[in-house]
């Protein structure tokens, strides 16, 4: 058995400790060790964005971050998006605009959109499209998703 490292991090506001091997990605740690299965594995090589999470305020592909790299860092995943009693405005806008079908890309788009709106509360449509270029959706089509993000920006 390969050596496991003890890592302490903050995930969605909670202090979290876990043991992981160096070769485990943050995505594997979230899904397999911490049962936070919101972030999805699509390509596992940085191209699809299904695994997008926010690390110390920056959008990252969690498949391209090692779990051991996250010691002392702040991680935000889709599980932390909604308040206990209501959805986040970005989630509402996705529902209102029918911006999902199978939903496998949705957690990644939601976190990517959150990182965008945290950074730029009033993006233009081209800004939304370029920002989301690293997130792929194979069934809904991008127009509804882009409209949902623009609606969420207007609502927030």
């Amino acid at each position: 058995m390969a050596r496991k490292t003890h890592v302490q991090t903050q995930i969605n506001g909670d202090s979290v400790e876990f043991l992981c091997e160096a070769r485990q990605s943050l995505l594997e740690v979230l899904r397999d060790e911490l049962q936070l299965t919101g972030a999805k594995e699509g390509c596992n090589n940085g191209n699809c964005g299904a695994c997008s999470v926010i690390l110390d305020g920056r959008l990252v592909n969690s498949c391209l971050v090692l779990g051991v790299e996250t010691g002392g860092k702040v991680v935000e995943t889709v599980e932390g998006l909604a308040a206990p009693d209501r959805l986040h405005p970005i989630q509402d806008a996705f529902l209102e605009n029918a911006a999902l079908q199978c939903g496998i890309c949705t957690p990644g788009f939601l976190m990517s959109a959150k990182a965008l709106l945290d950074n730029n509360p009033n993006p233009t449509e081209p800004e939304v499209r370029y920002w989301l270029a690293g997130n792929l959706c194979r069934c809904t089509g991008y127009d509804k998703i882009v409209r949902a993000v623009l609606d969420a920006a207007a609502a927030m």
């Binding site: 940085g46 990252v60 592909n61 051991v68 690293g134």
Partner: protein, 291 residues
């Protein structure tokens, strides 16, 4: 992914010591956007990953008109295009950092990692060449400097020797009436690897009619990114004109030795060198005129 050991080095000597002891079995981990993919796909056999991101020297980002730019090897792309004075003085590097991957990749991927990965198609390397970047390298024997044009020695191969790592890139402040431009051809708007890339830097005279000097560099048309020396030299002292730019483009085409692969044929690539060299030169000149 294969099992490996992870070390978060706190100092340059600590990283160098591991790299020296483990040799080929150790790799520096910067943003990981190349390395993690390569290890996962078993394209690289690595027993040790030496994370350098906690080392202060590799996170330095300073710029002033006296000393130029000092860019730590682990500074991610978004910090480059997010710094206004860099956008003003080194626009070709900004052009490249804005097109590497998407937002999430740019949050992690470093210019230093792009250089050390030494892909023939790496987008940051032509800008570094035309901007006269110098590599600051640390190793068991201390620190040394190497012009970026001598850094890549083949696809995925660099001049780094056992125990050595890139600490920073130093880019001199361009003189007045200078600017630069980088662009690439890809079949879509974003998220793709260059079929061909071309960068240019120009310095004009005060009247902005004559080219004092120019530098042109190309990506994805040879085993390493290329400095187009003759094409660059023949522009020195020439009045700005389509004829001069066409001559430089033809000279750049003459040094391209592209291959045919799934991204494009050799013939298409050679054609693109001409088109992109012209556009890069005109783009750089226009930026001087607009400043």
């Amino acid at each position: 992914m294969q099992a490996f050991e992870y070390v978060a080095a706190q100092t340059v000597p600590e990283a160098v010591a591991v790299l020296k002891e483990k040799g080929q079995q150790a790799r520096v981990l910067a943003g990981g956007t190349d390395l993690i993919v390569q290890v996962r796909e078993a394209k690289r056999d690595v027993d040790w990953m030496v994370d350098i991101k906690a080392i202060p020297e590799v996170n330095v980002l300073t710029h002033d008109s006296q000393n130029g730019l000092r860019l730590g090897a682990a500074v991610p792309c978004y910090q480059i295009y997010g710094t206004e004075s860099i956008c003003e003085s080194f626009p070709a590097l900004v052009d490249a950092t804005k097109i590497i991957g998407g937002t999430a990749i740019q949050g992690r991927a470093c210019v230093g990692g792009n250089l050390c990965n030494a892909s023939p198609a790496a987008d940051c390397i032509p800008p570094l060449i035309v901007l006269n970047a110098i590599c600051v390298i640390a190793g068991p024997g201390g620190e040394k400097e190497l012009p970026v044009g001598a850094f890549c020695t083949g696809p995925g191969q660099t001049a780094l020797e056992r125990g050595e790592m890139l600490v920073a890139l130093k880019i001199p402040q361009p003189s007045s009436h200078s600017s630069s431009y980088y662009l690439r051809f890809i079949p879509r708007n974003e998220m793709d690897i260059a079929v061909v890339g071309a960068g240019a830097a120009v310095t004009l005279d005060a009247a902005q009619e004559t080219i004092v000097s120019a530098r042109i560099a190309l990506a994805a048309v040879a085993p390493t990114p290329l400095f187009a020396e003759e094409a660059s030299a023949l522009l020195a002292g020439r009045e700005i004109s389509d004829a001069a730019i066409d001559e430089a483009a033809a000279a750049a085409q003459a040094i391209a030795r592209p291959i045919s692969d799934m991204r494009g044929t050799a013939e298409q690539r050679t054609h693109l060198v001409g088109v992109l060299t012209r556009r890069a030169l005109k783009g750089a000149i226009q930026r001087v005129l607009d400043a």
